[in-house]
């Protein structure tokens, strides 16, 4: 007996609206169809009406968690068009913040995956430890999310000497916790039962489906923009690309935990070798005509921005490809043949961020209304609806 189970757009296992239509046969998935489009904000269209400075902040709001990666990618693409040379110190600060964001994202992911597995305690612990890194980011940038650090021509805030000392303490704590989670995730029998051998994505399939980021690296493919095409200060910092050959959710977990440790090493090295100097150069408002592409390794995978300018202060076309869209087909492949109970864990495995994946559509053509509703309007609408429905 096959029956269809809708999964989303609202479901407790999903943080963001996406719809999967599963065909289930005896608790096993035989077919899956994804449907996007529930959180469209029309960012690529809005971009045609904003100037380049304003777009830095719009790019930050593509995704709440990997906001710096998008802002960095956008800043780089504009700098390339402007032919700006940004100061060395700014490059190092960019690297540090990008890696801190990676740590933050991976802790968040660990907690969410634990929650999908029903492991509340690990969820609480991972998010408690994530607080440490968020406080660090708060200290550096003045904000807990959407840091507003990267800008065209450098960064907006410096990391002074006293901050470095406090950062090192926090980094030690985070490293100890990462070691602890490695121990937990390799030892705990219930975690192993739920992750090992679940959601298999073979290396050949990962290559064919263009998987990126930790999803690809957990299938043994060393695909990392930081190593392939060094941006910011990655060319000067030694680090290793973490890969695992398990191809399952457990490997994705180990890749991310090991990346936390690797990121901590990168931050330490960058803090030690940070050159002195200015952090920002002035950028003109108008951008000369041209096309440029910039790639950044966001915590979730490769991030690509394409920008075409037409000589004014507003871009002609700004194309964003967030990592989740690249991994969505791999996810559908992983979900084939998976037990119904494992669906949330496998979906969490690629670290989906639906808001990143879809940015384009505009205004719902059906409603023909562009009106902001206040609380009392909603109240009235709800009452009317009920009255009509039940004939009160």
């Amino acid at each position: 007996m096959t029956f269809e189970i809708p999964f989303g757009p609202q479901h407790p296992a999903l943080e963001e609206p996406i719809n999967f239509m599963f065909e289930i046969e005896e608790e096993r998935v035989v077919n899956v169809k994804p449907r996007l489009g529930y959180v469209h904000r029309g960012i690529e269209k809005i971009a045609e009406n904003r100037n380049y400075q304003q777009l830095v902040y719009l790019s930050e709001r593509i995704c709440g968690i990997c906001s710096f990666a998008h802002a960095l990618c956008y800043s780089q693409v504009v700098e390339e068009l402007l032919d700006l040379k940004i100061p060395e110190r700014a490059k190092f600060i960019r690297t540090i913040v990008a890696e801190m964001e990676r740590i933050q994202n991976h802790y968040l992911w660990l907690g969410l995956t634990a929650k999908e597995m029903g492991f509340e305690t690990l969820f609480m612990y991972a998010w408690r430890d994530r607080e440490t890194i968020i406080e660090m980011l708060d200290m550096i940038s003045g904000k807990r999310v959407n840091y507003g650090m990267s800008t065209i021509g450098g960064v907006r805030r410096d990391i002074p000497e006293p901050m470095i000392k406090r950062m090192e303490e926090s980094l030690n704590h985070l490293e100890a916790r990462a070691e602890y989670y490695t121990k937990v995730c390799t030892k705990d029998p219930s975690i192993l039962k739920r992750t090992v051998g679940i959601g298999i994505l073979r290396p050949r399939e990962a290559r064919a489906l263009c998987a990126v980021g930790p999803t690809a690296r957990a299938s043994g493919i060393p695909r990392d923009v930081r190593a392939d095409e060094p941006y910011a200060a990655y060319g000067e910092i030694p680090f290793k690309v973490v890969t695992y050959r398990g191809c399952d959710v457990a490997s994705r977990m180990y890749v991310r935990i090991d990346e936390i440790k690797e990121s901590i090493k990168i931050i330490r090295y960058a803090l030690k070798n940070m050159p002195e100097g200015p952090i920002r150069v002035k950028a003109p408002m108008r951008v000369p005509e041209g096309e440029a592409i910039s790639r950044v390794e966001a915590p979730r995978g490769e991030n690509l921005h394409f920008l075409k300018s037409n000589g004014t202060d507003k871009p002609e076309r700004w194309k964003i490809r967030a990592p989740t869209l690249a991994n969505l087909l791999s996810l559908c492949r992983m979900l084939m043949g998976v037990n119904l109970a494992d669906i949330p864990v496998v979906i969490a495995g690629i670290d989906p961020c639906i808001a990143c994946a879809e940015r384009i559509a505009l205004i719902d053509a059906k409603t023909k209304k562009l009106k902001v509703w206040e609380g009392k309007d909603l109240w009235r609408y709800a009452n009317e609806w009920y009255r009509k429905r039940y004939g009160l």
Partner: protein, 152 residues
């Protein structure tokens, strides 16, 4: 990667290859050569994946750019098609991972990808009118707002 390598592999004229900077190549090709070009690029060493497909509205034409990633470069293959008859051969049979990108462009620019088995709406809501493509330049924000009677 160097210009000559790409030229030799794709067997096209050198002036069709623009080297923007180190690691960045733009290649202009004809629509009919697209599949062959992508297949040949895939056979080159250091090929990793196809990053994404971008579509642009350039006046009377729609330009579709395939960003092919290598470990040491990013080659962007440009194809143009007319707006009246926007048909481009699909490369899903070569790289299955581009299915969603092609569907996205089909939604937003109305480009038909010949050979893609599933071009159902991915992003746009159900009941979206036929022949309306939100990312074409015709569909500007001001135009929409004036139609809806709102103001900026």
């Amino acid at each position: 990667m160097r210009r000559s390598e790409i030229r030799k592999q794709l067997r096209i004229r050198a002036r069709n290859i623009i080297v923007q900077r180190d690691r960045r190549f733009f290649v202009n090709i004809e629509k009919k050569d697209l599949k062959r070009a992508i297949r040949r690029l895939m056979q080159m060493k250091n090929y990793t994946h196809l990053s994404t497909i971008t579509a642009l509205d350039v006046g009377s034409m729609i330009e579709v750019i395939y960003h092919v990633a290598f470990t040491d470069a990013l080659v962007s293959v440009k194809v143009q098609t007319s707006k009246d008859e926007p048909i481009i051969p699909s490369i899903v049979d070569l790289i299955p991972g581009v299915a969603l990108y092609e569907r996205e462009i089909h939604d937003l620019f109305g480009v038909e990808f010949e050979g893609n088995p599933d071009l159902s709406p991915l992003l746009l809501p159900d009941g979206w009118p036929e022949g309306v493509y939100p990312l074409r330049k015709w569909w500007s924000v001001d135009r929409v707002l004036s139609k809806l009677g709102g103001k900026r």
